[in-house]
Symmetry: C2
Subunit: 226 residues, 2 copies
């Protein structure tokens, strides 16, 4: 805390923050974590996880640090989304927010929720609460980006756990696109990408034929396709 120090500039500098829209697929919905704000402004309201950029801190590091600090979530896929700088977006002082879009498989969550002092809530994209600042706009932008990237990149693979079935992968696409897909065409297309490989293992769940398990060939890479 620098509460007692002062920093001087010959011209005024804006505050810079990062904010993260972290998507995950939970309970067959596209959901994201929001943090209950404790201080002013917008105290008590929900907002994106984020905070001020350290003076020697990279923007991505800041986004990841604040995400971990406020939600306990680490190891996500992260890409820069947009920088919002409307002069009136923060009533206290000029604040510029560099927004990031992040994706993570649902099985990486819940390891350490409620580690900070702040309340964290998961919200379905369809049922978002009123949000602080211009965070609603940022979420909209992130969603548009996600949908757009679905069909020219391998971004959806970032929702998948270590191993997964083709049925599960198809379900992820269907949830994001909000429409059913043809099973045979989906498999044909996704296998033709040559980005996933069968592990040789099977998954046995319900009273039905077991499904082959697959894994990503390049787990952390999101590629432009076609």
């Amino acid at each position: 805390m620098n509460g007692l120090k002062n920093f001087h500039y010959t011209h005024p500098h804006p505050a810079v923050t990062t904010d993260v829209v972290l998507f995950s697929i939970r309970e067959a919905r596209l959901e994201l974590p929001l943090v209950r704000r404790t201080g002013q402004p917008f105290a008590g309201m929900w907002g994106l996880p984020g905070g001020f950029v350290g003076i020697d801190e990279d923007l991505e590091s800041c986004a990841l640090r604040e995400l971990e600090h406020e939600t306990g979530i680490t190891g996500v896929y992260l890409e820069q989304l947009h920088t919002s700088g409307r002069p009136d977006r923060d009533p206290r002082e000029r604040a510029i927010s560099v927004a990031y879009c992040a994706l993570t498989p649902a099985d990486r969550l819940q390891i350490k929720t409620m580690n900070g002092e702040k309340e964290v809530g998961w919200f379905a994209l369809e049922r978002l609460p009123p949000m602080a600042f211009d965070h609603a706009e940022i979420v909209t932008m992130a969603h548009q980006r996600l949908v757009a990237k679905l069909d020219y990149s391998t971004i959806a693979f970032q929702f998948m756990p270590e191993t997964f079935t083709l049925g599960e992968l198809q379900t992820v696409y269907e949830i994001i696109l909000r429409e059913p897909l043809d099973k045979r065409n989906f498999r044909k297309r996704v296998l033709a990408l040559d980005r996933i490989a069968a592990t040789g293992e099977l998954r046995r769940n319900g009273n039905h034929r077991p499904a082959r398990l697959y894994r990503l060939k390049f787990p952390d890479k999101v590629e432009i396709i076609k």
Copy 2:
């Protein structure tokens, strides 16, 4: 100038700048304007037009203002590109740059070059000089974005003057893509977009049949296509 004033904060704030990569097609090349730096750091080197964001100034306004101030160019198409914030990118102080990608037809230029004190130079994308800060990286990103957007948006139309021929439009595409296109297929595709309309006028230049002139139906709109 605020040389005598001081601004105080309880925690350090970064400086925020905007930088603009403005593409235009000149002499059958993709070119962009750079500004000779006068002050430190990188004095004497070339850099993107840009500068500090005013404390009550929108980011886009800043980009447009600095572009006009340093190069005299106005009325361009502008879209946000990327925000660079590596802590060491400016040797003086922490500086975060919001980069914009801009496009303009060549006939809007040269109206008032050299209006400021700074030297402005146009450089072919293939023959860029050494550049200040991380501006070379920013230009690379802008170029990648432009090429990518060529085939899923109507962005290339932003290079065209009020009226133009299909041959000129095809040449623009060929310059950016660095490959020749089939004339009949190009016309079929571009007319099918239904974004340009014949004016009814003809253009007579050389010793050959005159070409029909077209204009954009929605001059300022860049749309996602297909």
